[in-house]
């Protein structure tokens, strides 16, 4: 993974949250370098710092020490080049699907006709043309998450950071969105950092699975997947990887409990 020119480079990052009566050591020294076009999953027990790491890359949190770089430049604030997809969608409820997707391009002051073309393209990409004028409360969870994905893509994100984006969806919707996400990723050459706690989801999606463990949060192992695409969840290879990764994840739990 040691790419000479990574798009994202997390260097010796640590994170402590100072609360009134205690300090939470969310991340011990963490290094992670991601190449352009990679699909990386972060997986691990809850509380092991996955969201914190993702939010540091996004620019929502500043590291206590170390730094996160994008194309070699330190991340200091959120930026449209790093789009975030939240588990609970975080759509603007007062804007229609079309207006939600247009929010970023408008905020950046792009010309009206450019915005319209862009929005049309991405509404179509995520299959919501018929719902362009619906408001978020009229949409199902899967549709909301499509809007959330479309709005970061329409805003020229190079890196899409996804924090358990499909965690709240039913199994069928989730599988459909996984397929759609892979298709978009393969078509566009995006870089995706995807947090999940489902081993199957991670193996189905990623080029690389980063296993994290808690107390304090850290990267336990970094596992490239040499599995051809499209992947078959019922294949022996898939199951073998699931077995190995499952063992890795559980050994950390064991260590923590001991």
């Amino acid at each position: 993974m040691a790419s000479p020119n990574p798009i994202i480079d997390v260097r010796q990052v640590t994170k402590r949250f100072e609360l009134k009566d205690q300090t939470i050591h969310a991340l011990a020294e963490t290094n992670l370098s991601i190449s352009k076009g990679e699909f990386v999953c972060l997986i691990g027990a809850s509380g092991c710092g996955k969201s914190t790491l993702l939010r540091i890359i996004a620019g929502f949190e500043t590291p206590t020490s170390g730094e996160a770089l994008m194309w070699g430049k330190a991340v200091s604030a959120p930026d449209p080049t790093r789009g975030m997809v939240f588990q609970d969608y975080a759509l603007f409820p007062w804007l229609s699907v079309r207006e939600n997707i247009a929010f970023g391009p408008n905020a950046r002051g792009l010309p009206r006709t450019t915005v319209k073309d862009t929005v049309d393209r991405f509404i179509e990409l995520v299959g919501l043309t018929k719902f362009a004028n619906a408001y978020p409360h009229q949409l199902s969870g899967g549709m909301k998450q499509r809007v959330a994905i479309a709005r970061v893509l329409a805003n020229d994100a190079e890196v899409v950071l996804m924090d358990e984006p499909f965690g709240a969806l039913d199994a069928m919707t989730r599988e459909r969105l996984q397929d759609e996400l892979l298709e978009i990723w393969q078509r566009t050459g995006l870089t995706v950092v995807f947090v999940t706690h489902s081993i199957e989801e991670a193996i189905f999606l990623s080029d690389r699975i980063v296993v994290m463990s808690p107390g304090p949060g850290r990267i336990e192992s970094d596992n490239p997947l040499a599995l051809s695409r499209p992947r078959d969840v019922s294949s022996p290879e898939f199951n073998e990887i699931r077995r190995v990764l499952g063992a890795k994840l559980h050994s950390h739990h064991g260590k923590k409990a001991a």
Binding site: A58, G59, F60, A77, P78, D79, P80, R82, G83, M84, F86, D88, A90, L91, F92, P93, W94, L95, S96, F103, G104, A107, R108, K130, F131, A134, Y135, P136, H137, Q138, L139, S140, G142, M143, R151, V152, N155, T173, R176
Partner: protein, 281 residues
């Protein structure tokens, strides 16, 4: 993908059968039961002379006709309804608009700027429990006997609900929306107009609705300050003259005017806040 699958919005796409006559008449019928019972009780109580001080419904109805178009009693109050109604409406809407014009910016600032909050919030919290009636003497000293005093009291009545709901709306914006806006490139002051204001709109709207309701609520107190015209003035004068049927007419007109003005506000709100699932009342 379950909520909508027809391409139209849910309300129109739900495929409901056309409403039967009863489903359409049910709300109206139910809403008339309590007033009808009250009217019947009133009629019985006055015909059986349980009280001699309350006029019969028929006398009130007659008075109302005279108050509106004249031709029955033909005194100073005949056919003056519109004059008093317009005078009261002027004070209600004037005081309300002024209250909104002051409460909205202050509420937005208290909600968003910690220094302003520290400066104003304790003071306003102490002022707030003082009822409008308690302000009456001071208001008459400050603004004199007359319309200005009435205006000031309506202002006070409408001010706090607008202020408090604006503060609440501004402070309860989902923090995730600020993160979403900033990763999409909308930062700093632009977030105020693109995120805070629209997100707070339902609360602000609730505040305006409550404020307008309270403006009608306090109009009688406001017009106790010796104004010559207005529904409150009619009620006070009629009381002095022991014309209880006219007092009741004034009450009914205030109730109906307040109700109509509330329905109009709600209709505007439903249109403006079509995106908000809570606002389809």
């Amino acid at each position: 993908m379950t909520v909508i699958d027809t391409g139209a919005l849910p309300e129109s796409a739900s495929g409901k059968k056309p409403d039967s006559l009863w489903t359409r008449l049910k709300p109206l019928t139910l809403s008339l039961i309590v007033p009808a019972l009250l009217l019947a009780f009133w009629q019985v109580a006055t015909s059986l002379r349980w009280t001699r001080l309350i006029p019969k419904p028929y006398d009130v109805a007659e008075m109302m006709v005279d108050f509106a178009v004249g031709g029955i009693v033909d005194d100073a109050f005949s056919a003056t309804l519109h004059i008093h109604l317009l005078a009261s409406m002027g004070r209600v809407y004037g005081g309300f608009l002024l209250a909104a014009a002051v409460a909205l910016p202050i509420g937005l600032m208290i909600g968003r700027i910690p220094a302003v909050r520290m400066l104003l919030d304790p003071f306003l919290q102490i002022m707030r429990p003082i009822p409008v009636t308690a302000w009456l003497p001071l208001s008459m000293i400050l603004f004199g006997l007359g319309p200005r005093s009435a205006f000031a009291l309506v202002f006070l009545g409408a001010f706090y609900p607008i202020l408090l709901n604006t503060i609440f709306g501004v402070r309860s914006v989902d923090p995730k929306l600020f993160e979403a806006a900033s990763m999409l490139g909308c930062t700093g002051n632009a977030q105020f107009f693109k995120v805070v204001l629209p997100a707070a709109l339902p609360s602000i709207f609730t505040g305006l609705r409550l404020g307008l309701g309270l403006a009608w609520f306090v109009i009688v107190v406001g017009e106790m300050t010796g104004v010559p015209q207005g529904l409150g003035a009619v009620i006070m004068d009629a009381r002095t003259l022991s014309r209880t049927e006219l007092v009741i007419c004034g009450m009914i007109v205030i109730g109906i005017a307040g109700y109509i003005s509330d329905r109009i506000v709600v209709m505007i709100g439903n249109r403006l806040l079509a995106w908000s699932p809570q606002h389809n009342g």
